[in-house]
Symmetry: C2
Subunit: 357 residues, 2 copies
Amino acid sequence: MTDRNVSTTIDFSTLSCPAPLRDYPNIILAHGGGGRLSNELIEHLFLPALGSDSQDALRDSAVFDVEGGRLAFSTDSYVVQPLFFPGGSIGDLAVNGTVNDIAMSGARPLHLSAGFILEEGFPIVKLKRIAEDMGRAARRAGISIITGDTKVVERGHGDGCYINTAGVGVVPPAINIAPDLARPGDVVILSGTIGDHGMAVMSVREGLEFEATIQSDSAPLADMVAKMLAACPGIRVLRDPTRGGLAASLNEIAASSHCGIVIDEASLPINSEVQSACEILGLDPLLVANEGKLVCIAPQQDAEQVLQAMHADPVGARAIPIGRIVDEHAGVVVAKTAIGAKRVVSVPIGEQLPRIC
Amino acid sequence: MTDRNVSTTIDFSTLSCPAPLRDYPNIILAHGGGGRLSNELIEHLFLPALGSDSQDALRDSAVFDVEGGRLAFSTDSYVVQPLFFPGGSIGDLAVNGTVNDIAMSGARPLHLSAGFILEEGFPIVKLKRIAEDMGRAARRAGISIITGDTKVVERGHGDGCYINTAGVGVVPPAINIAPDLARPGDVVILSGTIGDHGMAVMSVREGLEFEATIQSDSAPLADMVAKMLAACPGIRVLRDPTRGGLAASLNEIAASSHCGIVIDEASLPINSEVQSACEILGLDPLLVANEGKLVCIAPQQDAEQVLQAMHADPVGARAIPIGRIVDEHAGVVVAKTAIGAKRVVSVPIGEQLPRIC
């Protein structure tokens, strides 16, 4: 990983050296980090083995035709540690995370499934709290959890509670949103502060204390997305920057759309406690997970309307434009730093913070 | 649990004593066994907490209206140990199990999601074998795996590989299948031998050797179900007797439909090696999991046609009628034994064989 400050030009030829899968005979934590090694696993192992014929297969969500309409379908497993943290728990994360993945297709989420893998000896009172958090999050997001499954593994084999949710949503007609649709000139809009979720979990794990507790931003984004699409059906890309942070989302969009992205690093909204925690732990806020934020790519002429729609929703109150899609350096994300320099924002190899969601 | 031989009458008043949830402050293995404790967890914890308003909620699969049609939606997590066993692996189990849950709504399965929770250090070559098994099973079942997720947990925290799959299918018009639709006079049809999957896994774990290796029956049932419904759209109930075995499925049907069920125990097809293994381990084959079998409740006048349709499919070649829905002893399943006695087939408290799927 080579995040470097370069004052004038960037030598892009040195940037791409994904570690080949064969160099890792065993799974390492980074394979689950949503970065390069996760992508390697999908491209070199899962896609060929599962016989999926699309490069987009096995991504965060999929859209398929059924009964004359289009449905979005998505799944995520949640293994966050600790199970409870300021601003949320594995329960509301498991609902919001999958609701948001569905919303990133432009779809209105309808129903979720819930699969629990519990460890023998896990206190039922904690399971109740988690399930109540899921129920509350489901009501807030306007969806229902309609099918489920519970497995129990022997003491010492699991990890308290793992949850998988899968979700189904309806994509409205005439909406077409995908990571390969960004075009030069488009505006990059961010819905609010970055790094809150990751640093909320890390602060608990590391025992960091600040004047104000860092709260996870875990929240459902589907209502705001519906407002945004009502105001501007021509939105091109929506992505929620979870694992791998804003850096991973922007790099995915740049690579899929064969465009470059330039962002203004000084404009990124970051809560001061999050900034301090990142500095103490030596982490780049661009790489830290969010659970209630989205990045939107919209045509320039629509950007103002999209921003207004976002500001009308509590989860988008601090939305701002942070950059542009450009014709140069296809596939590469560049940040203009506060001192006017440029740096490449590269995809993390793995996750700098494991077990964050 | 009181499976008892009684020669004449049965005192049903003593049969129902579900252990209240509060007696178990912590999760025990039986909570994941698909029996009474699993039901307790669903009814007393998950349903109130998740705010689901239907008693049918959070069962194996759910059907919902969308875009003018009806979709079936189902999920299962797979934690089987060992990961590979004669006749299958966690990979094809994860596809067939969810495909079958969808098919039990009468639906044609379309797409699956796959969520992996891997343990740090898990050999990638094993993951490849599992994913290839999933791909093969998906092609056999005629479905595609279109969205996915991979998480990695630290060494010692997971258990090699857990898989969750969720699936979506289309319910054909005019098909209405549910566990509460059995009516007195209906015929109970079983698609083939029981106990193969559970005993295949147990034989490996216990190091049992027989003249012929016991093979798991893991197989997709959706094609056969389509043939059955084409021959007889009036089929009332379909259930795949997985965790908790045939006993759990029949008890669920009897309880939901407020009917009794009488089966002829001597008619149950059981492979001789499975019978021997059950005797050695002291297990009741009626309680052992299957992964490629179904039980069908059909009106008497349709039973012959349904049987013909089942016999026309390899997975139903040994289908036979095994009993009747009766007007007496509502909610209770009774088996006529080989010596002409009757015994109550009760719901297992949990799973006699943990980690079977």
